[in-house]
């Protein structure tokens, strides 16, 4: 057991709090009062067996005597020391061997330092959340690349004007015009970016909505929950207990709803039957539904619950929207940019399916983006009446996203993520100007 140099002090504090005489305590544990006096003044170390006896006599946990309430404080200070060790290797190392002396002599400053370290750790988690967002948010990515393009143009053009000797007047005029145009572009992009950042409402985790909490949790689990696949019932509360991604009550509620439906789906189409259908029919949802005798909606959700690579299954994504077009589920497919906020591209087959319930739609789409990519999509909309014939009819549309076949077809559709970041200038579905195209045509970095 780790022994603090302040153990004796704590023994003395506890004894005096109990109004027990030193001689009485010494007698109770079988040592002389003089020896106990040395212990209480931290001048003799206490053996484990004697500490247990003292703790028993003082009706306290031995840990409370050996580590005291300062345990967390020591941990915080050790973390601060470790963090300091990651910095300048030439700076003096904290005197870890005198940490107890420090706490004993300056408890207030120690608490300030440990509190500061705790705050730093908390902020680091928030920064990690932001970094994750930066790496995944299509709007931020597009904006940053727009900035990078404008800066590259400005830097090269300005350098030419400064460095090139005897530059012809027409070229000088042309490059000056470039600088003006790129400056405006930079200004517009920065304005849009600031406006976008102003709309963000961050939680402590860096995840801004319950839906994102749910998706972050599922992503961390590889989109596959073993618990729902096992026969028999399981406790949803045990599954979501202590999950760091599910930081809000609303996020946990969504997780419970997800688990309920995932369990029902697993009962309707158990993993073994799904894999058999997948092996026989490939990843075409309609064929799997016919093979397994289950509704298409179940197949969509079950496919999205399989980890990539199952039985040769390619990487896949799934989006689900309700009748309002709001995306209610997003399993991302690499390269298929899903909007973080607001509505998606109206040309997605998902929305065509929403307008044509019960009609399956198969389409290859060409997704605009930093790296244009093609995908095979299967979309389907299923109306349901959860409150019976007298209640509202609710629609739910699904779109499964798979890698596209190598062979191109004339019927492929040009789509984007959302209008704000879509470079397709002449798009019949455009509902607002793009920060990437305004007056300048398609761009990439």
């Amino acid at each position: 057991m780790a022994r603090s140099a302040l153990t004796g002090t704590r023994i003395r504090e506890r004894r005096t709090a109990l109004r027990m005489k030193q001689a009485d305590l010494a007698r109770a544990v079988g040592v002389s009062p003089a020896y106990l006096n040395l212990i209480e003044h931290n001048r003799r170390r206490v053996s484990d067996s004697l500490l247990d006896q003292l703790a028993g006599a003082l009706s306290v946990d031995p840990l409370a005597l050996s580590e005291g309430a300062e345990g967390a404080l020591f941990d915080g200070l050790r973390e601060a020391a470790a963090a300091a060790g990651l910095g300048d290797p030439l700076s003096a190392a904290p005197e870890l061997d005198r940490i107890e002396e420090f706490v004993g002599r300056f408890p207030g400053w120690a608490a300030v330092l440990a509190g500061g370290q705790a705050r730093v750790a908390q902020l680091e988690r928030v920064v990690e959340g932001y970094a994750e967002r930066m790496a995944q948010d299509p709007f931020l990515l597009a904006s940053l690349h727009e900035v990078l393009s404008a800066v590259t143009s400005l830097r090269s053009t300005a350098a030419i004007l400064v460095e090139a000797e005897d530059i012809e007047p027409q070229w000088r005029a042309r490059f000056l015009r470039t600088i003006q145009e790129e400056s405006l572009r930079l200004s517009d992009t920065a304005e849009a970016l600031v406006g976008y950042l102003d709309t963000l409402d961050e939680a402590e985790t860096g995840l801004s909505s319950p839906q994102e909490e749910l998706e972050a949790w599922l992503a961390a689990r590889g989109w596959h929950l073993d618990e729902v696949e096992r026969p028999g019932r399981f406790d949803p509360e045990a599954v979501i207990a202590g999950v760091p991604e599910l930081a809000s009550g609303a996020g946990r509620t969504l997780a419970r709803m997800y688990l309920d439906r995932a369990a029902a789906d697993a009962r309707a189409l158990p993993l073994a039957r799904l894999r058999a259908a997948l092996a026989a029919e490939g990843p075409e949802p309609g064929r799997i539904a016919a093979h397994a005798g289950v509704p298409l909606s179940v197949v969509f959700r079950r496919l999205a619950s399989l980890p990539a690579g199952t039985d040769g299954l390619p990487a896949l994504g799934l989006v689900i929207c309700d009748g309002s077009g709001t995306l209610t589920f997003r399993r991302p497919m690499p390269g298929f940019a899903l909007p973080r906020f607001g509505a998606a591209c109206p040309l997605w087959p998902l929305y065509e399916a929403l307008a044509r319930p019960m009609q399956p739609i198969r389409a290859v789409v060409d997704m605009a983006g930093r790296l244009p990519q093609r995908f095979l999509t299967f979309a389907f909309c299923e109306p349901r009446a959860p409150a019976g014939f007298d209640g509202p009819v609710l629609a739910e549309a699904f779109m499964l996203i798979l890698p596209a076949p190598a062979e191109r077809a004339a019927s492929e559709r040009a789509v984007g993520s959302s209008c704000r970041i879509c470079p397709r200038a002449a798009c019949p579905g455009r509902r607002e100007p793009s920060i990437l195209t305004e007056g300048q045509g398609p761009r990439g970095v």
Partner: protein, 126 residues
Amino acid sequence: MSGRHVLLIEDEPHIAEAIRFILSRAGWQVSLQHDGLTAMAAIAAAPPDVVILDLMLPGRSGLEILSDLRADARFAALPVLMLTARGQQRDRDAAARAGASAFLSKPFANADVLAAVRALADGEPA
């Protein structure tokens, strides 16, 4: 050195214009493609000494074009200078795997473009 041919495949018109100006002044013959879809045909029609290839292009990405080039025996050794975004290590790794000869991060110094193209044309590491 004078008269050697660089094909620049870049969809950003102002960046393309600046690179063309810099290289032309240094004696290079520069032709330009703005679209990934037409790039391969342009290379086949008039094989350049060096290709400057942007990663992000409309139609077909720079990575796809690079992969096609490396799969074609005629262009397997063609020097390709890849333009990537600064900080996008993932893009750079992908381009390295696809067979890029050298990289230049945006934003770049004009002198670095010139030095990289010269080195590649002379068969030196850029």
